[in-house]
């Protein structure tokens, strides 16, 4: 009961706070915190769904209508949540440590960027960019291309485990980035470091504000991905992945075909990233290899670890925390510090105007990350929302088994 009241109150307070202080980062963080609290609170499944729907479908777009930056943050959170969910399959469920995950994101992004921008003419002669509605077709093309890439990566690393697998996938991620960087000769496929632009955006009629339409598009895709993730996890396929993670030899002895299961894990994980890559390239209008560095892979992995390996709520929460930290908290601190500097404020006898510019919080985002991860590993190594074993209501043997308990 207390959970129900608290959830509704939090959402109301968060919404009100943003409404009263539209520019306050703290107010927006309260709102986001309320959504996350609802996501994990112990309330009936339908109420959870209703509250989340109100928050994400009504309140968030409304907030976005008077502060576009928040909508941008929410869209970014969605993109990274999808990536974290994909990596969660590979690392969290199947236990295959992949340090080059962003490569699949890049493959998806380039598949639309090349053909959905005038650059296609350089390769194929004419007729590009493809009509903007083709974007929706390319969501599936990106998915397929990334899945195939996932299988191609999977094949040579089938026999590797743990550290060795991590190193090879790391190398693979770099290979894709270096390829993107250098495939401007002999045939100009990727336009090298100069990148590709302008990339067509999908037609999203029915919305006055294009960014808001895009927010809904990303939200829709994330919801689909969560459902797919849940269904996989809750089937013989997910159980086989987890068994493989726990004990490869025993899993195989129990009839799990290792090769097929591993390739499927790589392909599924990669396909989510491929879809989001297509979305990302359309959203940014411009991509170049710099968007797909090793640090991005690490960032997504950090989201999965922070949230809790193998846990769907964990991946979403991890993505939110990390993205918000990057885009809002650290940037906000930088702005605040700058204000103090410009005003020449003195703290403890030290004039902040003399502060070296290197000390801007936004510039040591990676360090803050590192500290958070180290602290997490010490204090809560299982992550913020670790995967909980589903407790099933088990019928007496012989009767049907009731549907799965709601996610806890």
């Amino acid at each position: 009961m207390i959970h129900i009241v608290a959830s509704i109150a939090l959402l109301a307070v968060g919404g009100a706070a943003v409404w009263v202080f539209p520019r306050s980062i703290l107010a927006f963080l309260t709102f986001q915190g309320a959504l996350m609290a609802i996501y994990v609170a112990r309330i009936p499944g339908r109420l959870r769904l209703a509250l989340l729907a109100v928050g994400l479908l009504v309140m968030m777009p409304y907030i976005g209508s008077f502060n576009g930056y928040y909508l941008e943050v929410a869209t970014q959170v969605g993109i990274f949540a999808a990536l974290a969910l994909g990596l969660n399959i590979v690392v969290g469920l199947a236990g295959l440590l992949d340090l080059g995950y962003v490569a699949f994101f890049a493959v998806g992004a380039y598949s639309w960027a090349i053909l959905g921008s005038p650059h296609g003419n350089v390769i194929f002669g004419g007729g590009f960019p493809l009509p903007a509605w083709m974007f929706f077709v390319f969501l599936f093309v990106g998915l397929l291309v990334a899945a195939v890439t996932g299988v191609l990566l999977g094949l040579p690393v089938l026999r590797l485990r743990g550290d060795y697998l991590a190193i090879v996938t790391l190398g693979f991620g770099e290979v894709i980035r270096v390829l993107a960087n250098n495939l401007d000769k002999p045939i100009n496929l990727t336009n090298g470091p100069k990148g590709l632009t302008p990339i067509s955006r999908p037609p999203l009629p029915g919305f006055a504000d294009y960014n808001m339409a895009f927010y809904f598009l990303v939200l829709l895709i994330v919801i689909v991905i969560i459902i797919v993730n849940r269904r996989l996890e809750d089937s013989h396929i997910g159980r086989a992945w987890e068994a493989m993670r726990e004990d490869e030899l025993a899993a195989q002895a129990m009839g799990v075909p290792l090769v097929r299961s591993k390739l499927l894990a790589f392909a599924c994980g990669a396909s989510f990233a491929g879809v989001m890559g297509v979305v990302f390239s359309a959203k940014q209008l411009f991509i170049n290899p710099e968007s797909f560095t090793f640090l991005e892979s690490i960032g997504v992995l950090a989201m999965v670890i922070l949230g809790g390996m193998g846990s769907i709520p964990g991946a979403v929460v991890g993505a939110t925390v990390v993205t918000v930290l990057n885009l809002q908290v650290l940037k906000g601190l930088s702005l605040y510090l700058n204000e103090l500097k410009n005003a020449g404020t003195t703290i403890l006898g030290y004039n902040l105007a003399n502060l070296p510019t290197q000390l801007e919080p936004a510039k040591y985002e990676r360090m803050v990350f590192g500290i958070i991860l180290v602290v997490m590993m010490i204090v809560r190594p299982q992550g913020l929302f670790p995967a909980r074993r589903r407790q099933r209501e088990l019928a007496h043997a012989g009767e049907g088994v009731p549907p799965a308990a709601p996610p806890s």
Binding site: V228, R231, L232, S235, H236, I237, R239, A240, E242, A243, E246, D247, L249, A250, A251, Q252, A253, M254, G255, V256, P257, L258, L264, R389, R390, Q391, R392, L394, A397, G398, E399, G400, V401
Partner: protein, 264 residues
């Protein structure tokens, strides 16, 4: 008549060491045991039978289908399943999930069925769960279906492993030291369970065992390995009094003539 399970001239070398040398083995029904001193090659033989190792020589057939060259999961799908000397449960999964994984080879539903929740998928999951619970019931752990395997006591883990192996509906079950670490009482009740399995399910069981009392009580036939070779085979009491077996376990009496190794 051809045997349910037959191995002929199986040999396995690790570098210069011949772990298993020219072993013939045949099993039709009932409970058979393989015994032998440490390092006799018992587990190696199991690993060859289940596809974990590839034999260097010889052939192994199950219902006339050759097993050598197949992967462990293919052998399981054919109907030969095993347990491990050091229990290898999926530690972070629940008891029932462990058993469900054991049925993987029998699942008909595919990726698309799981994603779209087709009727076939729902039917398949229902059957899996029902059968999984029946198996837990059989080993007496129905009430602990939702417990995470890691948190269960040792004896229960052994039983879950047995249920998990049964989940693939094998015709031949290979158990690697199933009573290791059990008290005599626990071991006796486990053997009673195995006996029931043989009579209820028509299962053939092959055991590796160190607990001699258990072996002699439960086995229809006992095979003794030493240094990778079969040195004796027969009814429990025949084997017990075999001079070579006594020698393998206890050593030769000083001055006594060395009895010849069974070359056959």
């Amino acid at each position: 008549m051809s045997a349910l399970f037959e191995a002929v001239g199986v040999t396995k070398r690790f570098g210069g060491l011949t772990a298993v040398h020219g072993v013939d083995y045949r099993l039709d029904a009932g409970i058979a045991s393989i015994i032998g001193p440490n390092g006799a090659g018992k587990t190696t033989l199991f690993n060859i039978f289940t596809g974990v190792y590839q034999a260097d020589e010889g052939r192994v057939t199950f219902r006339d289908a050759p097993l050598l060259g197949l992967r462990p999961d293919q052998i399981t799908a054919l109907g030969v399943c095993r347990t491990f000397q050091n229990i290898r449960l999926f530690a972070n999964m629940t008891a029932i999930e462990n058993v469900l994984v054991g049925m993987h080879a029998r699942v008909q539903a595919g990726l698309w069925d799981a994603l779209a929740h087709t009727p076939r998928f729902r039917e398949s999951e229902r059957t899996l769960w029902r059968h999984g619970l029946e198996l837990l019931e059989r080993v007496g752990l129905r009430a602990k279906a939702n417990e995470v395997a890691r948190n269960l006591p040792y004896g229960d883990q052994r039983r879950i492993e047995l249920a998990r192996a049964l989940a693939s509906r094998p015709a031949l079950l290979l158990l690697d030291e199933p009573t290791a670490g059990m008290t005599q009482g626990e071991a006796t009740s486990l053997m009673a369970l195995l006996r029931r399995l043989v009579s209820d399910l028509g299962l053939a069981i092959l055991l590796i065992e160190h607990n001699m009392r258990v072996v002699m009580e439960v086995s229809d036939r006992v095979t003794v390995l030493d240094h990778g070779e079969k040195i004796a085979e027969g009814l429990p009491r025949e084997v017990q009094s075999d001079a070579r077996v006594v020698e393998a376990y206890l050593g030769r009496r000083a001055g006594a003539p060395r009895s010849g190794r069974a070359g056959a």
